[in-house]
Subunit: 360 residues, 4 copies
């Protein structure tokens, strides 16, 4: 249980970090959408290790192969299967961790839940699992493209204490995000974020941060009250990403400081006569349904649990021990998490687009 | 779609705010649990309007009747049906709103999504819908009771700018929460919160806030990676509550300011030899699975959208108009939202308890 | 678990035979369909006891009330709730059965599964549960009507050894079915069926039979391979009706006697140029997907388990005893099962219509 | 949609007949069950082409590889992924069929449903899809083994007009089934069935038949009324197998000829004091719940649609043409369908075993 996501566009993922590979099955994708391995690869390359000095130097090629559901370059309507073989699996990096419970990792909880764990690099709890999400997100964007110009852009808004200036969500573009290694569209803040991450790395420590996202062009009417409201579903999608600790929409936790008269988004007509809101403090969702304004929110990521500093923990026999991670790890997961956040949003929106279409 | 929640313990809710009533069907509840209407009533009374000067003065008796699934005081294993008839339905309060889109309400999005709306008080988007959640939460607690002493306590942590002192989540008790009308266990902060709410009411405005929650005694092992992680599922549950704008676990957004070496929860043994964590910055969930520590988090609520102050909006014909709500509304939803938050947590945990039991 | 049916059009039913009533929640019904209690009542009256000398003389008014999801005569898109209060509940008829396991009833299995049972007339295992299916079927037909002239007609094809002549499924009409109490469109066979049922009744015994069904006008393309093929889903729907023991499509079990060259349905063009099949031995479904031909099949019903004749059984203490039912029971369930079969087909087809629409 | 089966033990399958391969993901399998590729291979070999003169001479090695979810020979509790690469893909056999709609195949319906089809051998509609079911069935049997000695045996009961003598379902064993190429435990009937199949093959025609199955040792209490009754779920499972046209339980369609007094299964005590039934006309399921008696039923398979005889059909441009299949096909699918039937039963029972366990 738990490895399938979505109502009509159903993503099932599988694979351990040091097993044969990571894969996905995406059922419910409409037929006749063009899809190539190259398109998937572009996004996987945004997620993969080794892409910059800020992230883990592990070299993982992460080549996506489409093994089912696509025929002569088009989706068939049958389940799409993508597989990414594992390659650079230095299981030996983990052999000395095999009996330890790494602090704030899933070693302990997996072992207690399942009575067994794959100690090689986290097994299923590894962030390698998100490869499948990113690959599926590419297909989800194809589904969204059938509804016109829906654009999803995520970016790093904050790293540790460094917060970027307010980003104009109505225009922020992937080019600005990809312009630097930390994926922050504010170049000045980006430079400082990079410095913070490098210092944390040099200290054998780690830092967290906040990813902000916007989805523009989402049609009015997506979301299924009362339990599958669009924000509830996006929230679940985002909180299922490893290392996330919180999610908010629109003004989010900041809404608490406003009076209703300040927070409400007044309706008005635009030049075309369409009903729009003057402000967008709701973040594009009202009553759990998209209102046509940009969907905006933020996700909090904790500092990476794996650090080179010495820490106290216990082993499987209950002995208290000291440990320090020796593997190659990310001092900050945020730059690589940007495409994951985008993928989960794309999957959720595409699923709800199909749900709404079913209404006819 | 969207009116069912849960995998094995499945709650379906229905009912418009000014229709015949609000109801629920709860399928998957184990048999032979004692259940009475009185137990449900206790929680409904915590949620109902008119309970204090802080909330809407509408008088809604909200009497729960169990109409199926219980025989001679015990659950049968068949679907439990609870119905709460609507009574104080002053639809006339809404007749002048029938063609308006109230700002930051769901009027506009419902009408665009469904092509029709029940304008009498919000219809399905009304907070009356949460009656069903609270009633079902009582049954969920019965399910949790079969696993020993799981305790769920929620309380108001912040109203507008007034933030309670840190609450000791290991001991906070419902009695402290119920000790004042605002449901904040810090009596000094409670007094100030009440003042803030009363002032907002007098200004015909509204305020939001933060509800904090703790679930103690949750067994290790609940949560279904990778998409139905316990935090992801709790997040969805809580973000499906009306007026919520964010949710966080453990340190939440505050984790961003910490280094990994500060945030990680070191494992150690307790006096009984059990593995515990020295700190609980993770909020009781690691890798999406409960680790036996208290599950802790917070939910942000926006200020109530309905305010007596005049606001700009448009009507169904696209005319720009001014409006001011005349009905009886809550200047702050948080005191009444406390039992709703607890109910959604209970439903989520009970569902995952059953899922984990299936593993045998 | 188990009380919800459907993917997008989701029916949840509840209620014990001698509890407060029988009800349903139907989620996912598109908005703006006209719906009245009277329309539902028409179908309930076809199902209800006491309608003829062939069925149980119990008088159950079974008045349907729509309590949610409909506003000013139209569906809202929110969950539709229909409730039918129980009235003629002679629980005393069952008091002497309270410790017995009636042969071929669900008394024994319910008690072993749930550890408890509602002994008053079968509780949830009673055929009264099907009231909810019939009511929901009326709504499902409204959904089907949005796709043009889909017609579903079921009728009694066989009672005990009396088999009607071949019925022309391309034209058989409800008027012919309703023309006699046994609901068989072959009047001559109907007369003999009635005689057989009356004789079984007089002998305090019971008989079974076969209901045949046809759905005409179903668009090409409904059904979701590979596990939710249209025949698989219809099969599940029909086998979930009490007292069913088998289901078949097209030639069904009779296909076994044919060679492939005899059984295959050759394709050809009709006068309009559309691709049709020359024969319809497949029963309108190929590869699990509707092919535009009439969907045809049959359901086998066992003889009613409740009989007035003396039978051997054991009681809850394991004592072997003799028993004879004293209540008012149907000597043959088939006449009343016709609307139930139609309802389950309508629900399945409407669900798959929505699923196919989601493809856009 | 449609490629996932099960509630808690969730099988998702994928792969086209002439794509890269056929695969499955099985989520929800409990951890710590031993599982090897060899065990899966044993069952795949029972299903594979080329195993006898009765089936298609295509040589497909169908080697199963476990690529996820198993670590050091044991299941991890994470999704199990098995992949079977396609090898003997003579797509050229199909190139001349690329624009034809083969009679009683899914070519026409797939193309109309999805607007595209993989014409190479049926794509997703090919019986190769059942490889995944058979492989998953091996895992399901492991789950069942945790509940003691549940045995599932299926066998060919009838081919065309040749019907085996009554088989004693309380003892029939796989050895008897595997004793001949047609998989009928009645050796005398088997010989005649073989002759019938060989003659059909020589005539370039095909034949259908009936597979009977028994599941012994199933605990009392499996099945989830009212829509997921055990027989309804088994029915769906079996009717999702290609070429099936009907399914029945216990006396099935034969129950129609019996009076209630003849059909009812009287309860009595056995030597150990357990409640059993004197007869088993219900086929081990009462009220949709297993009663501890052997679960017995039958599945009807139509004659193979692909035949070498000339047939009339139309092509994609609507031209009426004659066609005769040239590929290598099964004159009778039943011998190879036996392990598929067993697999679908195992998957269904294992799923319901977990559902019942969740009740605690």
């Amino acid at each position: 249980m738990g490895n399938t996501f979505g109502h009509l566009l159903r993503l099932t993922t599988f694979g351990e970090s040091h097993g044969a590979g990571i894969g996905l099955v995406l059922d419910g994708c409409p037929a006749r959408l063009p899809l190539t391995e190259e398109e998937i690869q572009v996004e996987l390359d945004r997620r993969r290790p080794g892409q910059s000095a800020l992230v883990t130097p592990r070299q993982e090629a992460d080549r996506a192969r489409i093994l089912a559901g696509v025929f002569e370059g088009n989706t068939l309507g049958s389940p799409i299967h993508v597989f990414v073989a594992n390659q650079d699996q230095r299981s030996r990096d983990y052999s000395d961790l095999k009996d330890l419970y790494r602090p704030s990792h899933a070693d302990f909880t997996y072992e207690k839940k399942y009575g067994i764990r794959d100690h090689r690099g986290g097994g299923r709890a590894s962030a390698r699992e998100t490869i499948a999400r990113v690959a599926a997100g590419v297909v989800a964007r194809k589904v969204l493209a059938t509804a016109g110009g829906i654009e999803i852009v995520a970016y790093v808004r904050q790293v540790h204490a460094v917060r970027a200036a307010a980003i104009d969500v109505s225009v922020v573009h992937r080019d600005q995000v990809e312009a630097n290694a930390v994926r922050c569209p504010d170049p000045e803040a980006a430079a400082r974020m990079i410095a913070v991450i490098e210092e944390a790395r040099d200290q054998r420590d780690s830092v967290g941060g906040i990813i902000e996202f916007v989805a523009r062009g989402v049609p009015v009417g997506l979301g299924e009250p009362v339990f599958s409201k669009l924000d509830a579903e996006l929230g679940r999608a985002l909180l299922s990403i490893p290392a996330t600790k919180g999610v908010e929409f629109g003004e989010g936790f900041g809404a608490v400081a406003l009076f209703g008269s300040e927070h409400n988004d007044a309706f008005r007509k635009d030049a075309t006569g369409a009903v729009i809101t003057e402000t967008n403090r709701s973040g594009g969702i009202q009553g759990g349904i998209s209102n046509g304004q940009p969907i905006v929110g933020r996700v909090a990521f904790k500092p990476t649990a794996t650090i080179g500093k010495s820490q106290k923990t216990v082993d499987r026999r209950g002995q208290e021990v000291e440990m320090a991670a020796r593997g190659r790890h990310d001092p900050c997961v945020l730059p690589r998490a940007v495409p994951i956040v985008e993928a989960m949003i794309a999957l959720t929106l595409a699923d709800h687009l199909l749900l709404q279409r079913a209404r006819g």
